[in-house]
């Protein structure tokens, strides 16, 4: 069993500390015997990052990503837990599939993998999937989402909110009114008109969020809103929270940094759903994250093979990879701009997403007895982000060629390292550590 001593780390609140790890948890004093010593001077120790919105693509789309490759991408980005979206093939809509994904995560060990269950069978939007079976399975599913597709039928959404409540879970909605977004390619506005790309109007997102918060209020259920992208959505969420509705909201790193102007190149790396929006949306999303209207940052890591992007914009797949770059993008968008500090980063990228997803072990990071999930981050580093910085199977990153701050130096999951000196540990070693941890 690995023991660890981390010297000279700076915690998110700015205090300096030595950290001790034994048997997968933090301990108050230095463990006896031989210990791995990690010099963390100059580095920030953040609690292990938790991504509530990852597409791991396995089963079914292993040419884009697998639980293993996605876990490696997550670890190098400082994550120790990811929630895997349900749009696999077969869809994660039965106990069997979610248990398979869960166990793949356990075996590979880079991160804790928490499968998300589909709200509707086959993501078809017609009838509820076996939510109870998934909730009571070995995977203990608590988050349910048809992400990629909106649960657009109002009655079905109402039932989903009620039924998921029965099992103590939450529905994570992909808010997109389908009729208003037929063939949609980018944010609707003067630029979409000029480029001749069918518009994805802000109202298609905002109207669904407005409906859903009212439904959540009516049935007394908890709602999580995925990847909000517009200033108007922030207004709706703010109104709902003020009214006491149990709603949480996430924003992606790319919606905190990138704008629709990038579509003018027709470079499909910038094609994503919901689309990149205007400057004023980006600024409002940053503010809302800072003031707590938006609860968390989640990556919507969406790997695609080369051929899905090497084509005309209209033919390209939606989505960007984001696990490897998330922390750097958050730093440049909201930390370096003075909007939030590192303790806020710890909240929006770790404790709060864990709380929304009912994932244990992240509520009191760094305290004795808590699972040793953390990452050591060098915020003074700077790098031109390139394909070499990616560790998943796909290279559809919008940041290639862009200079980004910060670098993950070490990641520790359940007390064993997954990243040391800025590089991933070999997968066999990590799998062995994971097995030893499970006992």
């Amino acid at each position: 069993m690995s023991t660890m001593r981390v010297t000279g780390a700076t915690l998110p609140d700015g205090s300096g500390v030595d950290l001790f790890v034994e048997n997968g948890v933090f301990v108050p004093t230095a463990p006896k015997g031989s210990t791995r010593i990690i010099d963390a001077s100059g580095l920030i120790a953040l609690p292990g990052l938790v991504d509530l919105h990852t597409h791991l693509r396995e089963p079914g789309f292993e040419h884009s990503e697998t639980v293993l490759s996605g876990g490696r991408a997550a670890a190098i980005g400082g994550f120790t837990a990811v929630f895997a979206m349900a749009n696999t093939m077969p869809v994660q809509d039965t106990a069997g599939v979610v248990e398979q994904v869960q166990s793949l995560g356990e075996r590979h060990g880079y991160v804790t993998v928490r499968p998300i269950g589909a709200v509707t069978a086959g993501l078809a939007g017609e009838q509820l999937s076996e939510i109870g079976a998934m909730a009571t399975s070995r995977a203990q599913v608590r988050v349910f989402s048809d992400d990629g597709l909106c649960v657009s039928d109002a009655l079905l959404m109402r039932r989903a909110l009620e039924y998921v409540k029965t099992f103590g879970g939450v529905v994570a909605q992909h808010s997109q009114e389908p009729r208003l977004t037929i063939g949609a390619q980018m944010n609707e506005g003067a630029l979409s008109s000029e480029l001749g790309l069918t518009g994805w109007p802000a109202v298609a997102e905002e109207s669904i969020i407005a409906r859903d918060v009212l439904l959540a209020e009516h049935v007394g259920a908890r709602l999580h809103v995925c990847h909000i992208s517009t200033a108007g959505s922030v207004d709706v969420i703010r109104w709902a929270k003020a009214r006491g509705i149990k709603v949480t909201a996430e924003v992606t790193p790319h919606h905190l940094l990138l704008t629709e102007d990038l579509a003018a190149s027709y470079d499909s790396r910038f094609k994503v759903n919901p689309p990149l929006r205007r400057d004023e949306d980006v600024l409002m999303l940053r503010e809302a994250l800072a003031d707590g209207t938006i609860d968390i940052v989640a990556t919507d890591h969406a790997p695609h093979p080369v051929e899905a992007k090497d084509c005309a914009w209209g033919e390209a797949a939606n989505g960007m990879v984001g696990l490897e770059s998330a922390l750097s993008v958050v730093q440049t968008a909201v930390v370096d701009t003075g909007l939030i500090g590192w303790s806020d980063v710890a909240r929006v990228l770790s404790s709060k997403p864990a709380e929304i997803g009912l994932l244990d072990g992240y509520a009191t990071p760094f305290t004795p007895g808590s699972p040793a999930n953390f990452t050591l981050y060098d915020p003074t580093a700077s790098r031109e982000f390139g394909v070499g910085d990616l560790r998943g199977k796909s290279a559809n990153s919008p940041y290639l060629g862009r200079t980004l701050p910060g670098r993950v130096i070490t990641t520790v999951h359940n007390g064993y390292p997954t990243v040391i000196d800025g590089e991933l540990l070999d997968s066999a070693i990590v799998a062995e550590s994971a097995e030893a941890h499970r006992g």
């Binding site: 609707e188 003067a190 790309l197 027709y266 209209g314």
Partner: protein, 315 residues
């Protein structure tokens, strides 16, 4: 000129130079031997992912009159229709040594992707991409307007102060976009007239005036009125109730055309829906420049290929 992807990239001077070259090319059409040796040994590929007999034939004639070798890839009966990607097709054409690729594609921006991709080194001409642009249509329209207004004295002239009203499905029209940028660069004033459903939701920053009322636009006496083709499927998508109502409100019928000044030019990029957006009387009236547009298409496209491939003066 390396590529012709959008009229937005053309300055006033570049546009005038292209139109002047087109004048020279038009003279060739009046000769007994309608052919120039200029592009002998060059290969022009017409890559049509979307059917368009008129545009394809126009480009074919243009390239042949310049003595280029012309290869036409059209969607039907080629690997293009079997799901071969833009990338594979482009790399195939590059391997065959194409000097210019004239591309028509249903996806907006496909010509730009081709030009930026590094898959092929050839000059790219946008022959219509999705709902984005159709630059050679705008050039031939500008040429036609200038010719009508200035006749043999056209060379060197711009369209300063000319009013052009474009009517119809602006939202989906690549012709409207290309014309807006080009005609404005040449000094013209452009108006768009359409029901609100067929106008872009935002045209912030565009040099255009919008109106819903065709009668007002007609009574303003524009120098040019350009009618756009209405696609039948727009009705099903609730852009307007039915063809009769569209025609009543936004069709250029005999009564409206009669109210136009005698010198007004009636244009249509074709193919026309006679009786829907334009009446037969309007299409065949002396004001109509529809057939001149077709003829001028060849000279204009010759000018574009010439500037792309001959190493002629930089634009």
């Amino acid at each position: 000129m390396r590529h012709l992807l959008s009229t937005k990239d053309l300055t006033r001077d570049a546009a005038i130079a292209l139109l002047d070259t087109a004048e020279d090319m038009a003279d060739v059409a009046d000769r007994e031997v309608k052919k120039l040796p200029t592009l002998r040994g060059k290969t022009v590929v017409n890559l049509f992912f979307e059917d368009s007999t008129r545009t394809r034939v126009s480009f074919e004639v243009a390239a042949k009159r310049l003595s280029a070798d012309v290869i036409t890839f059209s969607a039907k009966g080629s690997s293009v229709s079997k799901g071969e990607s833009l990338k594979d097709t482009a790399q195939t054409l590059a391997a065959m040594g194409a000097d210019a690729v004239v591309i028509r594609h249903s996806a907006s921006g496909a010509p730009r992707v081709l030009a930026d991709s590094g898959w092929i080194d050839a000059g790219i001409v946008n022959a219509g991409d999705g709902t984005h642009e159709h630059p050679t249509q705008a050039l031939l329209d500008a040429f036609t307007i200038r010719k009508r207004l200035h006749g043999a004295a056209s060379r060197g002239r711009d369209l300063d102060g000319v009013t052009v009203t474009i009517v119809g499905d602006i939202l989906h029209s690549r012709v409207a976009r290309s014309n807006l940028w080009l005609l404005t660069a040449l000094g013209a004033h452009v108006n768009f007239v359409a029901p609100a459903t067929l106008l872009p939701v935002s045209t912030e920053g565009w040099p255009v005036e919008l109106s819903y009322d065709l009668d007002e636009a007609v009574d303003a006496g524009p120098d040019v009125i350009m009618m756009l083709r209405i696609q039948g499927e727009r009705m099903n998508a609730a852009f307007f109730p039915n063809a009769r109502e569209y025609s009543r409100q936004w069709g250029l019928d005999d009564e409206r055309v009669a109210r136009l000044p005698a010198a007004s030019i009636v244009m249509h990029p074709g193919p026309m829906n006679r009786g829907l957006e334009i009446s037969a009387g309007a299409a065949d009236s002396p004001r109509s420049a529809v057939l001149e547009q077709v003829a001028n298409g060849v000279s204009t496209r010759m000018a574009v290929l010439y500037h792309l491939l001959s190493g002629a003066v930089e634009l």
